[in-house]
Amino acid sequence: MFANGPDSFIWWDWVDRNTDKIWARTIEHLQLTGSSVAIGFVIAMAMAMISLRWRRAYGPLAAVAGGLYSIPSLALFGFLVPITGLGFRTAQIALVSYTLLILLRNIVAGIDAVPASVIEAANGMGYEPWRRFIAVDLRLATPAIVGGLRVATVTVIGLVTVAALVGSGGYGTFIEDGLSRARGFSTPIVVGGALSIAMAVLFDAAFVLLQRAVTPWARRGAAGGAHP
């Protein structure tokens, strides 16, 4: 199986021969992921702002996002095809829908977690409301928001793989190719799968580092002083 031939698990010749295709798929995958998460973030942020201003809006907004999230990916892709055709745009709409619930929840949870005493002190000191929101509330919510972005990004990377079904490009294309060919040629499937996994894991790790980087105050241990 590990001998290097078309029958083996990975036929490295195929990999060599198709490096430009691999590169192209990588770019596609990144583009789709990046744009979907970015758009999803903007929409989720707007939803979060609305929820913070009108508490009652959160329930319905979360329900909509949750509803979208619970639609099986295949179904959502399939449903959009007759409307927006095959390709990038279709996938993007579906992917943005999947990010909404995670991002909305994390943004709102992060902002809610800011201690009331800190808000009161900030107001009492003379922060204007908007400035305080950005410098205090959002800043303290940043770790939670980054956490949400982490889950959203990793989820989308996985879903882009499935989206190849509707012609969006990305690593899933290799998998589709491999599955539709005669059995025995597993290389593109393995390559597609492995690259997807690698990208997801890498981004996950990167976000973990980012999360730590935006939380410098939690890194230092809570050591007591010498005297009270």
Binding site: M1, F9, S70, I71, P72, S73, L74, A75, L76, F77, G78, F79, V81, P82, V151, V154, I157, G158, L159, T161, V162, L165, V166, Y171, G172, I175, G178, L179, R183, S186, I189, V190, G192, G193, A194, S196, I197, A200, V201, F203, D204
Partner: protein, 235 residues
Amino acid sequence: MIQDALDFLTDSRSWWGRNGLVNLTWNHVRLSGAAVLAAVLVAIPPAVYLGHIRRGGIVAVGLVNLSRALPTFAVIAFVFPLSLQYGFGLGFWPTFVALFLLALPPIFVNAYTGVSEIGRDVVDAARAMGMREHEVLRRVELPAAMPLLVTGIRVSAVQVVATTTLGALVGFRCLGTPILQAIATRNDGQLIVAALLVAALSLLTEAVFGVLGSRLTPWARNRAVETKARVQHAA
């Protein structure tokens, strides 16, 4: 579209036979259940143990969170050739492996957190009453951790049920199959019916585990108070 849906629903071939909805749903439930059960068996003992000794959590949780990053379909794709190669067949095993990995994190993390988060004072009280370690675990920590544990299993199960549809892509006959078929034949009605079925199944799973949860944990209303009371009764 609605016409297509109705056609699909009224056609008896849709329901029965190898590709009938009944069989597909059964397969779907079978695989989901197997994956969740496997995850429960594999994750809960070490999670509960680590939670009890309150050690090693960070490492374990980190590893488990790593598996959260694995794209399910990619894992299916990756295991697929191996499964073929070693005679494990087409659709079931790759999907099972991927779903198992998907199911692990919520169950593990919730079990660990549920056990380890129980106040030191409650555990100390139990020990002070003369309970031995395994009794503390069995009579105090596990019951108190139940709500969180069941929530973990519930979240996991709902996710798995929804994701099992991907198995159709590698030939596993489940509720994803009619969806794939509907995409190919541009039959929106069939697609909606199948998608609604999956959604219904998800909701059903959520409901079933919700009920199961409250049955197993009738005291979950006022956890802190009841946990202490349990400690007294258990000793």
